[in-house]
Symmetry: C2
Subunit: 412 residues, 2 copies
């Protein structure tokens, strides 16, 4: 059992890792239908093929008029216009509006030629058959949207690099864009290592064995980030086996994640295997939990070596792995995470120069919620499974006092 | 063209709708594997079949000892213990620790019998082969987790009614629970109505036609809420056609959403058809946009009638439809939404007694971001597609002043 001398060889802060470890790799472009496009990342701006809605459209139930014919109209002194006809929904108008005339239009109908405004039905009365009394004036453009008010032909409907939201799918549908060129979901190979690690389906454990918890949890985080988890094998703590498992994973994935064995010796094996396959960019991250993290570039495929403890592994993957998955799909600004402002329930100690990620339970109360730190060895997955979220004690701080108001990032 | 006299017949506030329109219906229970369980809602608490990790486990690389043998140890006056052997990862110890002895253990290994603590290797030295010098005392329980420290047999691992998070999938995997009984994804039938509405794939529009934007956007919101959108037909503004389309949808769905035609006449047709199929609980919601909203119970299947304007329809579905989808799957507390605190960029007017939902663009700046209201007719989908989020002007307020600090709920 020896102390790993190279453990802090190229230690980095989380900020350095996010700013500096930026693989150029992007997933290929593929075309998907709108029904499969939610939260996918467009590979290029999508532009409107034509003006939208494409015709001047009434936004109220009422009468299309020439606005000038209503000037000065009031309850006491209405204007009178002759009803020249009506527009049916979804059809072209068969009448135009001349001076002194109006045409009945339902909400959403095409504005007839000659009209430049729509008077709401509430401000009219049909006093005699065929004559409409207008009791309030309208300005040109009132009660309608222009033919290109939603978008002009060529306008950007959705931007490259931003995950598509539900409303944007509707906007594309309105434009007649029924498929989108998006980046393929990044394939993330998850390699678990450890002589003691057995598959989750193992019914009875031999003494000392543990089931692979990290792979299932990582797969969830990968899916949340729009990636496609690829279950790779569980590999024993053996350099040769590790190297060949990683080689296979690298050939087939956009990102390889290896949850290292938990002992220092096992971590050394992982580092050795990775060093043989690529360039180690960072070996040691100034974060607690998660120090024994490794970032490497293996001939263009990024590799993240995670600590052996499930809690540490998941914290680190959330901090530096999730942004990588988004970036591989061409998204530089991942969607925002849910947060809540809360007061810290007790003092938190921290070392300067190290970012601390502290799991908390949130108690909702007045005037603000309380964030109660959950402690326990990072070997305990229950801490993470039971936490509502986490708070960060930034690198410069030596700790945070109870009562400090801070932002809790909520697990989702 | 007549004014709908029943439009505000049973008008409700959004709060009343959320508290009072609570269908008892729940989707059936089905069993899914862990790989498919992310964000699914467990139908019952899942308990630990056995203690976790199942054995006392070292959390450090070091030496298993009897804590009492280290009392008083210091750099100046170390304790000495005899090395009785080593534990290999993933195997049962073959040696026990007697008084005055220690056994080498890597992180994660089984604690040998007789030991009650683990000294970190950093606080030891092997001064002579077989003799370990301990320079710091340890308390009983140090450097290890108990056999049931993650969970005791029978402990609740994940609770019914709470969508499963990534870390919880790991926790279940660690327990050997590889499948979970969850509520089926609520099937949400989306019925679009309107003589002018044509499918998104329609390449060339006839005058007055618009493509169905709302259905695609609603499908996205339904998926975000864990539901399964079921595309139903586009139905003309005809009572008989509507009634038979709704009847078919109700037979096959857990929730029916109908985006009504945009004119008052079309809305009346929808209300008439719904009234023939169930009990209208709310006709008119005190929200802008979204007033002409309808909530009904059709023999146990909830039905939401949405306004014809896509923007209004999506705002209302987010407010009252999304919580319904979650509830149908047995989840009373949907996951939190991402938010950001911001200062309002300009004054907002509002009517008392009405909740206003105002789309905003967020400009990130110092000291806090600014929320710039985006205005435009609710017929414009571009407003929603371009907004970063929305702010709410609550019912009692007559408006909000520029500079007011408020919470922006971010679209995702």
């Amino acid at each position: 059992m020896r102390r790993a001398s190279r453990e802090f060889f190229t230690a980095r802060t989380v900020g350095e890792a996010l700013a500096g470890f930026r693989p150029a790799r992007r997933t290929p472009v593929e075309t998907v239908g709108l029904a499969d496009a939610l939260h996918r990342v467009p590979a290029a701006d999508v532009r409107a093929p034509a003006a939208m809605p494409g015709f001047a459209r009434s936004t109220v139930d009422g009468y299309a008029v020439r606005a000038a014919d209503t000037y000065g109209a009031s309850e006491g002194l209405p204007s009178y216009v002759e009803l020249a006809g009506a527009v049916r929904m979804g059809t072209a108008p068969t009448v135009a509006v001349s001076h002194g005339e109006c045409v009945a239009v339902p909400t959403g109908a095409v504005l007839p030629d000659g009209a430049d405004a729509v008077v709401m039905v509430e401000h009219t009365a049909e006093t005699m058959p065929g004559t409409i009394e207008v009791t309030r004036p309208v300005a040109p453009g009132a009660g309608l949207v222009r033919a290109d008010e939603d978008a002009a032909a060529g306008d950007v409907l959705v931007a490259a690099g931003r995950p598509l939201r539900a409303a944007q799918l509707g906007f594309l549908a309105a434009a007649g864009v029924t498929s989108v060129a998006v980046r393929a979901r990044p394939r993330v190979a998850i390699v678990s290592t450890g002589d003691e690690v057995v598959p989750p389906g193992t019914a009875t454990l031999a003494p000392g064995q543990v089931r692979d918890a990290t792979a299932s949890a990582l797969a969830g985080l990968v899916r949340d980030a729009g990636g496609e988890p690829v279950a790779a094998a569980i590999v024993p703590d053996d350099r040769g086996a590790l190297e060949s498992a990683l080689r296979a994973a690298l050939a087939d994935a956009d990102l390889v994640v290896v949850s290292a064995g938990s002992s220092v010796g096992a971590r050394d094996e992982t580092a050795g295997a990775v060093a043989a396959l690529g360039e180690i960019w960072c070996h040691g991250l100034a974060v607690k939990p998660g120090k024994p993290t490794l970032l490497a570039d293996c001939a263009g495929v990024p590799l993240v070596g995670l600590p052996g403890n499930p809690l540490s592994a998941l914290v680190v993957f959330g901090l530096v792995g999730v942004p990588l998955v988004w970036r591989l799909a061409g998204c530089e600004h991942p969607p925002p995470e849910p947060t809540v402002r809360a007061r810290l329930g007790r003092d938190l100690a921290s070392a300067t120069g190290r970012l601390d990620v502290v799991q908390v339970a949130v108690r909702y109360g007045v005037p603000v919620p309380t964030a109660e730190p959950l402690f326990g060895p990072s070997a305990l997955l229950s801490v993470l499974a039971r936490a509502d979220g986490y708070v960060i004690v930034p690198e410069p701080a030596t700790g945070l006092d109870a009562g400090t108001e801070l932002t809790v990032t909520l697990h989702r």
